[in-house]
Symmetry: none
Subunit: 257 residues, 2 copies
Amino acid sequence: MSGHTVKQLARMSGVSVRTLHHYDEVGLLKPAYVGENGYRYYGREEMLRLQQVLFHRELGFSLEEIAHVLAAKDFERVAALTAHRAKLEAETRRYRQLVRTIDKTLAALAGDAKMEEKAMYRGFDPEKQAGYERELREKFGPEMQGHIDHAKAGMSAWKQADFDASQAEADAIEAGMAQALVDGLRVDCAAVTALMRRQHAWVVKSWNRPAPAVAFSGLGQMYVDDPRFRERYDRRQDGLAEYMAAGMRSFADRELG
Amino acid sequence: MSGHTVKQLARMSGVSVRTLHHYDEVGLLKPAYVGENGYRYYGREEMLRLQQVLFHRELGFSLEEIAHVLAAKDFERVAALTAHRAKLEAETRRYRQLVRTIDKTLAALAGDAKMEEKAMYRGFDPEKQAGYERELREKFGPEMQGHIDHAKAGMSAWKQADFDASQAEADAIEAGMAQALVDGLRVDCAAVTALMRRQHAWVVKSWNRPAPAVAFSGLGQMYVDDPRFRERYDRRQDGLAEYMAAGMRSFADRELG
DNA sequence: GCTTGACCCTGACGTCACGTGAGGCCTGAT
DNA sequence: ATCAGGCCTCACGTGACGTCAGGGTCAAGC
């Protein structure tokens, strides 16, 4: 019963010869026996094991994890699969977010996202807001007026009283971040994280809707990209726009992911 | 205007110094200027470019792709983003499929009804867990002990980290339901519905898989039928097991159907 | 017995986006 | 002068193989 050679097994299972060599090398799948010429020969048992390996590989387990799982009994296997399932779901959620971000970016590139951009400015500075509206009208003509009116109606809840308090909070956060920047604090340190938590709360309140990870770090990105925001931050402290963006991204990754 | 050194830029943008070195190496982000001592100095333009790089990196572009995208015009950029979007969606679909595969595998492994039952009890009560282990030992003898120990190690993360929070939520829900019961609230009133929504979320998290209507109301039924659960609830409040079951069935009918 | 061509082996380097030192120079403060 | 803390350039390690290079082995046909 000489068993199968590497090429035979490779063809049967759809993997490469090199892969079998590699699995032998790392001890994941050793041949049933090795001829004196050094040839590898695989038997029925090895074929079954290979199937197990490939199954778990498909699921995204690393070879090391596979070795561990195959050595374990059902009990542990269930735990491993459950944990892996959670990872896959997390990845799925992350990818969905990325797709949404791409959609937004595409919309922005297509010029469709004027309203979105507008929404992000909301509550920042009513004077600039007015200037921005004029700009929009000039660019896109009178048919834009309807959209602007609509947005204004949405802002009616935004009373002047709220604006002052909100602006004060924004100022306080910026001041804290500027200090953190000159102090050379890392963006993931506790102090900056606390500031970012306030920033996140502020954004949620300003937008009047939740700000998930991608939206929050995307807003940070806009602080850097958009000259009106950038100018505001850099006037306070050189590099503050980037620092804010980094802080927000870091916070989003760590706490909103 | 000396610009920023590597460490400064790294801190501002939240990347490592090595990353900046690497980006320089591969030509993705070169310093504005290199001193005669060999130091890298970055200016405003480089900071902006770095933000662009990081944005695309988050989306999962490779560094090579990023270099290409940043050198391209809007038209090409749209094409790249669209193509990348398709890739992400394909990955998302693939992951969903993998999750389904895992679910099937878990179901198969649980074909042994004991395993299923055990999974349901998971995170509920360590004492019951101990009872189950003893049962296993009596049935399969001492050689099982090794497996149990091993599995315990694998599950320790679950038990230690999540058990407390999970149990606290379960307790809170039960307390709320007990109060609702003594207050004579109908199981379809808003307050109880809210509690049942939490209960459903808790079950989904505990099981780590969706709980459709039949499963959810079936679990409620089990609270009545199974003495271990029944005792737990009735100790807190007489009739609570039935009340839970009624609430869950009602919720399942109204919101999960 | 010899050639041919398909198959086998063992290195060993390349991939990608950095992490992690090692070893040494530069700079500003004491 | 010393010292800490920056900066630099190598250069190896990661994971799961792909891809040669160089050389031995096997079955079949001549």
